[in-house]
């Protein structure tokens, strides 16, 4: 029924999205700071890149930069974003508007904040179809129903007439996914898409996303703080800390042989579910670095069990550890 979305996978090796040396600065009342500092990564067509990081790591700002939806207080001070061969930074606002929704779509943590409470679900799903694809009312309605069915919403016809507050959190997130996918994007940016949901609902939504990604051959940029979600869903991973990419790796290698002490610490501090449970969890000491008061050298050095004098002075670039596996740590560089 959604035949037009079923693209054939292309054999090309060129990345769909290529971000190079991105730096984003904010000017706030507390002073200026850089939320993203020289981040580079690629997303391959049809693949999932997971971006892990804690609050203030710059993961969400990176996503908003790709969509060119940064607030006025922010400015891209360096770097480029290439999407399907075009430099997004050079597009006119009008051309960018065509990219948003149609080629790159986004799903957020809180679906209630993205849905308009005074319009029905049907109105909101159809709105994007009519605006982006220029469908007639009747055609948009048929397509909307198909998409609600695609995201496994029971009795889609009734849901079209419902208002957002009448749906549960999981159902609202399904509606958001339906809206995001309705124009057939090549890239879906999912920013903490399941964080606000209960565990059983989270599992259902992740399964849905994975199934749809396979059938629609769509690339996904999945932003999350949850390494478990990464383990299940991502092909490649980028770990961010204090605005920098500290590690990039295929997912299996990251969990098997983490290259950065921060990644290693995160993995170790996760309580196991089926293995031997340690009496004391191996925690990462200290607190998350504040963007206003970044430590000198490597931002992670005050919390790093391996830090030595040089770590206070140098901020190491990403260095090759193994195939497609890079870490920004002096232990790798030296």
């Amino acid at each position: 029924m959604v035949q037009f979305l079923l693209r054939q996978p292309k054999m090309a090796d060129s990345p769909l999205l290529s971000v190079h040396d991105l730096t984003v600065a904010f000017d706030t009342r507390r002073g200026p700071f850089e939320a993203v500092r020289g981040v580079s990564f690629d997303v391959q067509p049809g693949k999932t890149l997971g971006v892990v990081g804690e609050s203030g790591s710059g993961k969400s700002v990176t996503a908003m930069t790709l969509m060119r939806l940064l607030p006025d207080s922010a400015e891209v001070t360096a770097g480029t974003v290439h999407f399907a061969g075009r430099d997004l930074g050079r597009l006119s606002e009008r051309d960018m508007q065509a990219v948003r929704g149609r080629e790159i779509a986004m799903v957020f943590q809180d679906p209630m904040a993205s849905l308009n409470p005074i319009f029905t679900i049907g109105h909101q799903v159809m709105e994007s179809l009519r605006l982006q694809l220029g469908l007639s009312r009747a055609a948009a309605k048929t397509r909307a129903e198909e998409f609600l069915a695609l995201v496994r919403i029971p009795s889609p016809r009734d849901i079209l007439r419902a208002y957002p507050h009448e749906l549960s959190g999981g159902m609202r997130q399904r509606v958001m996914i339906a809206i995001a996918l309705s124009c057939g994007p090549k890239l879906l940016i999912a920013d903490e898409p399941t964080t606000a949901l209960d565990v059983t609902t989270q599992a259902q939504i992740l399964e849905l996303l994975r199934d749809l990604q396979g059938s629609l051959h769509m690339a996904v940029l999945l932003i999350t703080h949850d390494l478990g979600v990464i383990a299940e869903f991502a092909d490649d991973v980028m770990v961010m800390y204090a605005g920098r990419a500290v590690e990039r790796s295929p997912v299996a290698a990251l969990f098997e042989k983490p290259g950065h002490p921060y990644t290693e610490g995160l993995l170790r501090s996760m309580p196991p579910l089926d293995d031997e449970d340690p009496e004391v969890l191996p925690a990462i000491e200290g607190n998350v670095a504040s963007p206003f008061d970044l430590p000198s050298g490597c931002s992670f050095h005050p919390r790093c069990p391996y830090a030595w004098d040089a770590c206070r002075l140098q901020s190491p670039p990403l260095a090759r550890l193994a195939d497609n596996h890079d870490a920004a740590c002096l232990r790798v560089t030296c």
Partner: protein, 322 residues
């Protein structure tokens, strides 16, 4: 036994009618919950949002009054106490909340915040100051933090302040309500270690409320799984994680994301979402989502069935197989 809940329930009226003065229904937030917590142990309450786990914690400490049911603390029936006696018992039961920072008065220093419960209990200023200096290092804060204000601290540090405040009156029993859920992943393990360390040092008894089954497996001695206001399964930790009997417990466990990639887990055996506490389903309240539903489940409300060794599960399937 330190604390015992018997058939606790909390129903909230839903007001309707033109003037909003008619009772149009009931939200059965907690609907007949009984359990015992032994001295020095951690009982975890797990379940999804709206299952009544936080309400149960508040009922135990009598922050809210139960609709029916009783709570016994040592040998005192706390549901019958007057205000004065209740205050004396309550010193021995404290709470740690999810977002400690939001409950702090931003104009009070850390020292004043930690000492506030003591101050209200009538302790002298000298005693308060001494106790604060004793508590700060216990929760991993420095002596010079005492004169700072809450906004100067990170989320993890604010949670440490909240824990110090809860310990100020040397309680026996602490309700920890999602104590690490709002914290950054790298800080969660620190606060968990702090809580388990303090428990050992001061022989504290915990009711640990959480939706995170990984964290619960690490901290709990026994686990109670709640669904729509009821305990559907309770067992010691090893038994619950190794051989869960209730279909809902199995669904919860199967929904936890994997620890490592490649370990393909079975697809979640759960459909739909939590039913509403406004309209609790007939019979077994889980029957609307249960993959093993039988005709009896739609009509008969199963009771907790003893499976031996303190393992109890409220499921008709369990009854037929035992």
């Amino acid at each position: 036994m330190l604390i015992r809940a018997d058939n606790l329930a909390k129903h909230y009226p839903i007001m309707g009618g033109f003037f909003g003065n008619k009772v149009a229904g009931q939200v059965r937030a907690v609907d007949g919950v009984s359990f015992v917590i032994e001295r020095g142990e951690t009982l975890a309450l797990v379940g999804e949002s709206g299952c009544g786990k936080s309400t149960t914690g508040r009922l135990l400490t009598r922050l809210i009054e139960p609709t029916v049911g009783t709570v016994r603390f040592e040998n005192t029936e706390i549901s019958e106490l007057g205000a004065e006696e209740l205050r004396a018992v309550r010193r021995r039961m404290q709470l740690v909340f999810q977002d400690a920072g939001s409950s702090f008065n931003p104009r009070m220093t850390v020292a004043a915040l930690i000492a506030e419960p003591m101050h209200l209990a009538g302790a002298s200023a000298v005693d308060c100051r001494a106790r604060v200096q004793e508590l700060l290092p216990l929760v991993g804060l420095a002596a010079e933090h005492a004169e700072r204000y809450p906004h100067e601290f990170s989320g993890g540090q604010r949670q440490r302040i909240g824990i110090a405040r809860a310990l100020a009156l040397r309680p026996d029993f602490v309700v920890c309500d999602e104590p690490v859920s709002a914290l950054d992943v790298s800080v969660q393990a620190q606060v968990i270690n702090l809580l388990t360390g303090l428990q050992r040092e001061f022989e504290l008894t915990y009711l640990f409320i959480s939706h995170d089954l990984r964290v619960v497996r690490h901290v709990a001695d026994r686990v109670a799984v709640m669904y729509l206001g009821r305990i559907v399964e309770i067992a010691d930790k090893a038994t619950l994680y190794r051989s869960p009997q209730h279909p809902y417990t199995r669904a919860l466990l199967s929904a936890v994301p994997a620890h490592r990639p490649g370990k393909a887990r079975a697809r979640t055996e759960v459909v739909g979402e939590v039913a509403s506490a406004r309209a609790v389903p007939s019979g077994c309240r889980y029957h609307t989502r249960c993959p093993y539903v039988m005709p009896v489940c739609q009509t008969d409300d199963p009771e907790l069935i003893d499976l031996g060794g303190g393992h109890r599960s409220a499921c008709h399937l369990v009854r037929t197989s035992h």
